[in-house]
């Protein structure tokens, strides 16, 4: 087996086939054991990180977009809603963080969809590995992107005068809850990524879902001034509870109701859409 390394290494243009070299690499010295579910998932996560390394432009949507959102809404609504932008920022920042991150979860669906069009997906699907690991890998890479987005928004917020009472721990806990929920929520997009034919339709459906889900919530204002029917929706919207939970954590508090909602809806998203995703993944 060690003879393989003695082979000459021809340049691309002068590659000549040598049956001996090939024979040598055809007999691997050790047949490895099957990769564990964790190792396979982490390896796919590594792939997502490599893609960020090679195509850094894709970090644009987790940097420029959140900065734009934060600046836009702080100055747009700040004066009118809270009297001053700095005061409004204390209320808005956790909400705008949730909104931006939830908005960028849709890129998961687009990434899945683009991969399917290329042949590499076929290779992954013929591997003897834990089936969901491909999908979990996407989500692990995305969790990194969500964290980057959170930190960017936090940076902008701090520069503009955001002073959370919860301190470092409270803010870290808030970001942790947000990233964990987004991980669970992204299963919606892995499903659509597999279900829909084109990148454009994934984009379209994402907008249809995300706009009402994020705007019809307590991100911008206290829902008590809304009409009753709208309040009813805002109250059951998991995003409202996520905003509530993150806002309280960053303010140094703890809201059991909101946290329970976040936990239960996160589990539901994972179970329902994770199952649907895997059904589609296996059936394609």
């Amino acid at each position: 087996m060690s003879t393989a390394t003695t082979a000459v290494e021809p340049a691309e243009s002068t590659y000549t086939f040598s049956p001996e070299t090939l024979q040598a690499v055809l007999a691997p010295d050790e047949a490895p054991r099957r990769a564990s579910w964790l190792s396979a998932s982490v390896t796919f996560g590594w792939r997502a990180m490599l893609k960020i390394k090679h195509v850094p432009e894709q970090l644009f949507d987790v940097t420029a977009f959140p900065i734009m959102m934060t600046l836009m809404f702080t100055y747009l609504f700040g004066g009118a809603l809270a009297g001053s932008t700095t005061e409004y920022l204390q209320f808005l920042l956790p909400g705008i963080m949730v909104m931006s991150v939830i908005m960028i979860t849709m890129y998961t669906g687009i990434a899945v969809n683009t991969d399917i069009v290329k042949g590499v997906f076929d290779r992954f699907r013929t591997l003897p590995i834990w089936r969901p690991s491909t999908m979990v890998g996407y989500l692990l890479g995305d969790a990194f992107r969500y964290t980057v987005a959170c930190l960017v928004i936090l940076g902008v917020g701090l520069a503009l005068g955001f002073r959370p009472d919860g301190g470092v721990l409270g803010v870290a806990a808030g970001i942790g809850v947000l990233v964990a929920f987004s991980f669970a929520f992204s299963w919606v997009w892995t499903m659509f990524g597999l279900l829909l034919r084109t990148e454009k339709s994934v984009m379209g459906v994402s907008m249809m879902v995300l706009f009402p889900l994020t705007f019809l919530s307590n991100v911008f204002v206290d829902p008590s001034t809304m009409p009753g029917w709208l309040q009813a929706f805002v109250d059951v919207n998991p995003i409202s509870h996520l905003v509530g939970a993150v806002r309280t954590l960053m303010a140094g508090g703890w809201d059991t109701t909101d946290m329970t909602w976040v936990l239960v809806s996160g589990v539901l998203f994972t179970v329902v859409f994770g199952t649907l995703t895997m059904r589609l993944y296996n059936r394609r």
Partner: protein, 341 residues
């Protein structure tokens, strides 16, 4: 590793067939892409699946590789049912699809390490295995470049390297040379031969008859989702006729007449070549006896008939029918059958 059998488990030796399918069906909407295919692929050989675009080759391969669920019939890979034991099948097969099954954003090295890790190699072993394969496939210098900057031939080599990373028992090559230049195509053929001599079974789909002729020990010809002929390349040629007469005329204007004369004299199928003065006619010799001599006699008679009809022949040759002729004859026959039905 002298014997291809020593790495196999007992169950695999029991099943000498790498692939067995019975009545395999896949329906997309109203189209029966695969319409009742029976295949028996002996282990350790190259099996060619030959057919035009849209014949159902890729669909059949995708079902066998557990990428698509069959709508009917059953398929076994080394005795394991593709629907009931997909993981057992996946452990034994590898697929090189029609489109490069590698990640274009990643480098060649990263692609192979990724795959090695997924197949259970630890970090160091994965890197060693990846470097070994890159060297064997002449990709060491390109190891650090993104695959999207590779040439077609390099990409295909990386793809095959990825497919044999864990030395599969069965390798699916779906049109491995489509779109490659002749040099790269020859390299792929050499690689396929080396892989098979190591004991791996290869199922090769192709549109090119000479490719199937050169590599495969058995061939199934598929058209519109059905197997229309199966056998060794020699069987297929013999089933169509003992030989073929290739004729070149002086005057292209006489070709229609020549076609008629040849078809009447030989009683078989005449193919008009792309060259406006060339025709090829099959010589059908039925029954036993010295078929070569009878073929020659019939060919001579046909040339005589052409001379009598006042058609000037510049050049002629007598040969075995090429698989192209076999293929055209077979697909034509099914068209005729449909017309009569």
């Amino acid at each position: 590793m002298s014997s291809p059998l020593c790495g196999m488990k007992k169950e695999d030796i029991v099943s000498a067939m790498a692939i067995e399918t019975r009545g395999l069906v896949k329906v997309f909407g109203k189209t029966r892409a695969v319409d009742g295919i029976d295949l028996a692929v002996p282990a350790g050989t190259v099996y060619g699946v030959l057919g035009p675009n849209g014949a159902g080759k890729t669909t059949a391969v995708r079902m066998l590789a557990t990428l698509l669920r069959p709508d009917g019939g059953d398929a076994r890979v080394f005795g394991h049912d593709v629907l009931r034991e997909p993981d057992e099948v996946r452990r034994r097969v590898s697929l090189t699809g029609q489109y490069a099954s590698v990640d274009e954003d990643l480098t060649g090295l990263e692609n192979l390490i990724l795959l090695a890790r997924l197949l259970g190699y630890d970090k160091r072993a994965a890197r060693r295995r990846a470097e070994q394969l890159l060297a064997a496939f002449g990709l060491t210098e390109a190891a650090g470049r993104q695959v999207k900057n590779y040439s077609g031939g390099m990409r295909r080599r990386l793809d095959i390297a990825a497919s044999i990373l864990n030395t599969p028992k069965l390798l699916f090559l779906d049109e491995p040379t489509t779109g490659l230049d002749p040099r790269s195509r020859n390299q792929v053929w050499d690689i396929v031969r080396a892989v098979v001599s190591h004991g791996t079974t290869v199922l090769l789909t192709t549109q090119y008859l000479d490719e199937a002729d050169r590599l495969a020990s058995r061939i199934a010809v598929i058209d519109r989702g059905k197997v229309i002929a199966e056998g060794t390349p020699g069987d297929l040629k013999a089933s169509v006729g003992a030989g073929a007469v290739h004729v070149r005329l002086r005057d292209p204007g006489q070709r229609t007449e020549a076609e008629w004369v040849l078809s009447r004299s030989l009683g078989g199928h005449v193919v008009l070549e792309a060259d406006p003065v060339a025709l090829t006619a099959r010589v059908s010799v039925n029954g036993n006896g010295d078929s070569d001599r009878r073929t020659a006699e019939q060919a001579a008679a046909a040339l005589n008939a052409l001379a009598e009809a006042g058609i000037t022949v510049d050049d002629f040759s007598l040969g075995q029918p090429s698989l192209d002729e076999v293929f055209l004859a077979l697909t034509d026959r099914t068209v005729d059958e449909e017309k009569n039905a």
